[in-house]
Symmetry: C2
């Protein structure tokens, strides 16, 4: 059985999981079924919903007979065309999705962690069985960025992606930058408002954003990347002082997800061709479109060779935005378009020979760096000399008034440098007797 | 012959016209054909190109044998699957497109003026013959906003669209707002840079933006609208003084295209249900995402009931961005997805009974208004009294120092009002003996 055809008009949905996103999806399907049918000619029906706890109260009024505790029965049900996985986590989601795909079904999922860590296995299985995996809901909630990359920008060679892909951290950073409130206080507020989990580490350490960057890169650069290939740093060590100094220099601090094509350069050691894949706090000029993405919003700035920069912006998460993306993927699967996401096995068999992921110490960036030094003459000159000795050139400097605890912060912005040269200079400066460890550094994206 | 199928892999393109956008399209097709084939499994070939002047030098190196002066031969060629119309204007584009559609071909066009004035005839013909009209390139160049409305946001009831849809006027307004340069000077600069035509009226009078709003509304509200239903005002009467006063109040001036659903209200005279469709200069708070769309860029802010606000942003025009959108539409037609844009004839047969276009005098807005008055006591009180008598309530007032020519500008922002009440108050105030005509007014979108 295939999940789609030009003639079939009724598509039956089996759901795995019924948490917040599942309930949002069901609510949209129940409410919008007539208008979806009118718009597209396709009728979608929820046939079964597998849940762990059959007794739990459900916010959406659904026929109780649809619920089952047997996920396998859902993916094996021959009447079901499209399986929507909203359990989250690796298992049992992975096993159930694989089984659904082997049964020829189309799968729609919001599970970025699973796709970013087991993408190769899952997409290969989909391709081998003529099925598909829709994952619009995995990245930036209701913002149709997967569709834009697959369809709208299909004629482009994608040069780079810069994304604010995590709403929790963007909320925290917005508060830190605009109101100069400490990280700890902002995190506490985000937790109180329900924007951050009790254990916020997946968000604040950049893991969630790295999962999403993995999925965007799959489409943008036509390969299947793994989460382990993304260099991820979080915002949990960010000091309010650095946010203040960045503001003084005209920059906001954002948790950026960056995927950037780099052509081979003149110096093969410094500039190997390939792809930079990284998530980290970064300084962004206040005039940059991404600097103005506030609160829990997400945005993705895509540079294509034909379009130039295109940005998509909106709410990156939540019950209804994510439900909207899942229903869009259901329609995409029903129309048969979802199968066209990854069409060739050679994407998997021929992994990026000409475009390897560039190791972190070879990425190329401008840097913000702050050294806390003793207040004595000649210090600035020595710091600058070490940077120069490593070939790192300084774009601007602020030396602040002595800090209340006695040291003087020296804040510098560098010109473009290769990461290992900058880090070698930083380490040497940290070892100078008048410098107090640790220094702080952040990459700058202009 | 139908233009698409699941099995067909080679699609032949016939082009009508070969100006800037046509050359950009051809350049992308020639350059990206291998990668498009790898991504999608679909191979596209340019088979014929109809041009008016066979002798003209072409910027793209194309086999001269492909050129013909006979447009009809292109649309009648049985080997051609997809016709790309980039002639512009109404005729002969309309006749050729109708013939192509009747021949069962898929059509891709960047011709917003044609679709906004003859959409019903063209889309009906496409539907009747199993063909399609792709028009991503007609709105906002390479920004995939048509795709977003049709596919990514399919599960949403669209509540409103706010767009900056014309790059020329946005360039002029950016200069006026940021640099406080007069309209005439900005227009001259825009013409010198090639951003504005020698006859700029289509752009500066809001006609181009109204064409595009017509097309966006077709998809967002599932009907075929006509350009004549859009209320369009231009920026050509905008005084620098009003730009300055708006800035003082915290607002940028933008040429906004607005389509807004309004539910029936308690007062049937003031609040009939329906759709507001309007293009005019408007005050937008500096903190609003659209206020930060600068220079020739375009942006569309779409509010869906599930997603909330989603914004798409980028270059709205140009050879390569528009070419990118045309090639995306070619792939869409080749995959068969384009036929799913308008699937039901009842869109045309049952025109918006429940959602008429609201006449301009019944739209509801906040207003900016400036009266130039004689500098004498009691004037402010009289102006405010007239407004109050028409039920228009004042949100804020600035009375400026006397102008060098002797009068005093009174600038007011109102609360929400129905247009006819506001205009009646404005007319009455203009007739007061101490008021100098004309006053200036702009709508405010928050």
């Amino acid at each position: 059985m295939t999940a789609s055809s030009d003639t079939k008009k009724v598509f039956r949905i089996g759901m795995l999981g019924f948490g917040t996103v599942g309930a949002g999806t069901a609510q949209i399907v129940l409410h919008s079924r007539p208008s979806l049918k009118e718009k597209t000619g396709i009728d979608i029906q929820i046939r079964r919903i597998a849940v762990r706890d059959m007794k739990k109260h459900r916010a959406v009024s659904i026929d109780p007979a649809l619920f089952t505790s047997d996920g396998q029965a859902v993916v094996d049900d021959p009447e079901i065309d499209i399986v929507v996985e909203v359990i989250g986590g690796i298992e049992p989601a992975r096993t159930l999705i694989l089984r659904a795909l082997k049964n020829g079904k189309a799968v729609v999922t919001a599970n970025k962690a699973l796709l970013a860590t087991h993408g190769k296995e899952l997409f290969e299985t989909a391709l081998a069985h003529g099925g598909s995996i829709g994952f619009e809901a995995s990245v930036c909630g209701g913002i149709p960025v997967i569709g834009a990359l697959r369809d709208g920008l299909v004629a482009n060679r994608i040069e780079s992606i810069h994304g604010i892909l995590n709403g929790t951290t963007n909320y925290i950073l917005t508060r830190m930058v605009e109101d100069k409130v400490s990280y700890a206080q902002c995190l506490y507020e985000a937790q109180s408002k329900g924007y951050a989990e009790a254990d916020p580490s997946t968000d604040v350490k950049g893991i969630d954003a790295a999962h999403k960057l993995t999925l965007l890169s799959n489409l943008a650069f036509h390969s299947i990347f793994d989460f382990s290939e993304v260099h991820a740093e979080g915002i949990d060590g960010l000091a309010l002082d650095d946010v203040r100094y960045a503001s003084d220099l005209g920059y906001a601090v954002k948790l950026l997800a960056v995927a950037k094509r780099r052509n081979p350069g003149a110096d093969p050691e410094d500039f190997p061709g390939g792809l930079e894949l990284r998530v980290h706090p970064a300084l962004v000029p206040f005039s940059h479109p991404l600097a103005n993405v506030r609160d829990v919003n997400n945005a993705v700035l895509i540079r294509g060779d034909a379009t130039g920069e295109v940005m998509l912006y909106g709410r990156g998460a939540g019950m209804m935005p994510t439900g909207s993306a899942i229903v869009a993927d259901i329609m995409d699967a029903a129309r048969g378009s979802a199968r066209q996401t990854f069409t060739k096995l050679q994407f998997f068999q021929n992994p990026r020979e000409d475009m390897p992921v560039i190791p972190t110490d070879k990425i190329r960036s401008r840097y913000y760096v702050r050294f806390n030094v003793d207040d004595r003459p000649g210090v600035m000159g020595k710091v600058a000399t070490v940077l120069g000795g490593h070939g790192v050139s300084i774009a601007s400097v602020i030396q602040k008034e002595p800090h209340e605890t006695g040291f003087v912060p020296i804040v510098m912005l560098t010109h473009l440098s290769v990461e290992d040269r900058f880090q070698a200079a930083r380490a040497e400066i940290e070892s100078l007797p008048f410098v107090r460890k640790p220094s702080a550094f952040y990459r700058v994206e202009d």
